[in-house]
Symmetry: C2
Subunit: 314 residues, 2 copies
């Protein structure tokens, strides 16, 4: 029987734990635990590819270079994104290898540094929405905003963060290579949504200051790879209406149409659940039998078996 293909989008909590120091050492520990859950999916005979977020990491890389600007030049945004792909991809390679070894699986795990083409006229550049880097108090945020001309916004009750443009991904530059590796390796690609580039008239690429939403990038990858399922892992087991309110309603199944209805009613937070739902809807509508699932890392296997999570279909 043909194995089902799944693109898995890993949220921030699959890489770092709130409350623990944001060190590489702590991240590696969290990644190793995450990979234990992911390897269960591989063990259950699914073929997978991984896409990860990079908000906190790319923010810290930027922050380090900006703080050190008197001794070494700051790095542009696209380069920081490329660095974060190397950093997180490397940890996922180690973590997945370790987890797979425990099930006697020697499948290679590789990271492909990935450029993703966006439209330079994307409306995202006029209205930055993507939070990156550390959280600040309102007072700190206002100071940074006036000093560095950054756009700072309050992020879902957790504090203030810098926000940058989050344009829609149009094309994965390295897609042919990712496809060709599918059968022989677990590929980590489009990390942090991919390094955002625009395509110039002569066909060359140029980096641009933006962060592509990793859920959108995972969706694009899932479509292009012909995946059966798009599995978006986040902090909650199910998508909810009236999230964190007394009348919260968890959703088991959603049609694309229902999801679009709830989006129109503003049920989902921009930069948080909204892009996940939008990516899920796009994937569900992309072809017959396509299913997007939004759930937590810990419930991923149960959700694939239809026992939990929010399942979005056409």
């Amino acid at each position: 029987m043909r194995k089902e293909k799944i693109v898995i989008a890993l949220g921030g909590n699959a890489l770092q734990t709130a409350g623990l120091p944001p060190t590489a050492e702590c991240q590696l520990e969290v990644v190793k635990k995450t990979c234990e859950y992911i390897s269960k999916i591989v063990e259950n005979d699914y073929e997978i590819a991984l896409v990860h977020g990079n908000g906190p990491q790319v923010g810290r890389i930027l922050l380090a270079f900006e703080t050190a600007r008197d001794v070494t030049p700051p790095m542009p945004f696209d380069v920081c994104g490329a660095m974060s792909q190397g950093y997180i991809g490397y940890h996922l390679q180690q973590g997945m290898h370790q987890a797979l070894l425990k099930t006697n699986n020697a499948m290679p795990v590789v990271t492909v540094v990935t450029q993703v083409v966006v439209d330079r006229n994307d409306s995202g550049f006029k209205n930055p929405t993507k939070p990156i880097g550390p959280f600040y108090s309102e007072e700190e945020a206002k100071k940074i905003s006036s000093e560095k001309n950054y756009v700072m916004k309050e992020d879902a009750g957790r504090g203030w963060r810098r926000v940058v443009a989050s344009p829609i991904p149009k094309r994965i530059v390295e897609i042919d290579t990712i496809k060709s590796l599918w059968n022989s390796a677990i590929v980590v690609s489009a990390g942090g949504g991919g390094i955002p580039v625009i395509e110039l008239e002569d066909g060359t690429y140029e980096g641009i200051e933006a962060v592509i939403d990793k859920d959108y990038a995972a969706e694009l990858l899932a479509e292009q790879i012909g995946a059966d399922k798009l599995l978006i892992l986040t902090e909650v087991e199910k998508v909810s209406l009236n999230f964190n309110k007394p009348d919260q309603i968890d959703l088991d199944k959603l049609t694309a149409e229902e999801a679009e209805h709830y989006i129109a009613e503003n049920h989902f937070a921009a930069g948080s659940m909204l892009p996940k739902i939008q990516a899920a809807v796009k994937f569900a509508k992309s072809g017959e039998g396509k299913t997007a699932i939004i759930t937590s890392l810990y419930k991923a296997m149960d959700a694939l078996m239809g026992k939990t999570g929010t399942q979005i279909t056409a």
Copy 2:
């Protein structure tokens, strides 16, 4: 006719120009020029793979995180190496794509984040030789050395730099993937010599504080990929005896035996020409008809045609 396979090791001057600011923007310009020369090799019907150094880049990543340690945690050495692979690989992808387009070649260029296994008992850990990061005056170097417990050494008359262990690469973890991509893409791998890892008893990998020489890593890759030639690009057109002295003698052809003789006579600077010669000798001895060439980027095509450079054979 079968195309000749070449692994090309790019030295520091293929990525950055001494005297220009060490910014990402300047690097990209230099990389684009470098790629024009490399694409000439592709145009002349060679199949290539690229390995690059990362000394200045990994040093600056480390430096930025150390300088910013009060606002964000410093990153360990292996992670900085992984970041530098993302950074430089991304630039090479853009640069090679642009250069190849001019010759109507749409070959994909991909970067594989690469771990390279070293022996934890390697003698390199007792005697650090690999220079990384920016140059300092003797006075600055001594201050840094006493403050941070770094080993600082004078680097070939150009100033003082931090040196770290440079163990011998034993195995490229992602070799199967790199091999499988050879026919369909130009692969950038083992950047900066690869992320140094040790293999634990249970078969898992763990990062270690070291920089693997990129010429050794390129040699290992060339052997494992079955390359016909190892092309080591550096600042000089030919290897010399009595370098920079009145009685300098440039070398056109060298047997492995002659090269070993000159090594024993201490003709080549550790951390500079010595590892190139050693890598070249190892490759020349690895099989029948194997040739290593040491030359400059600008003379690369001429050297492949046998017109210049130093050719090392068994």
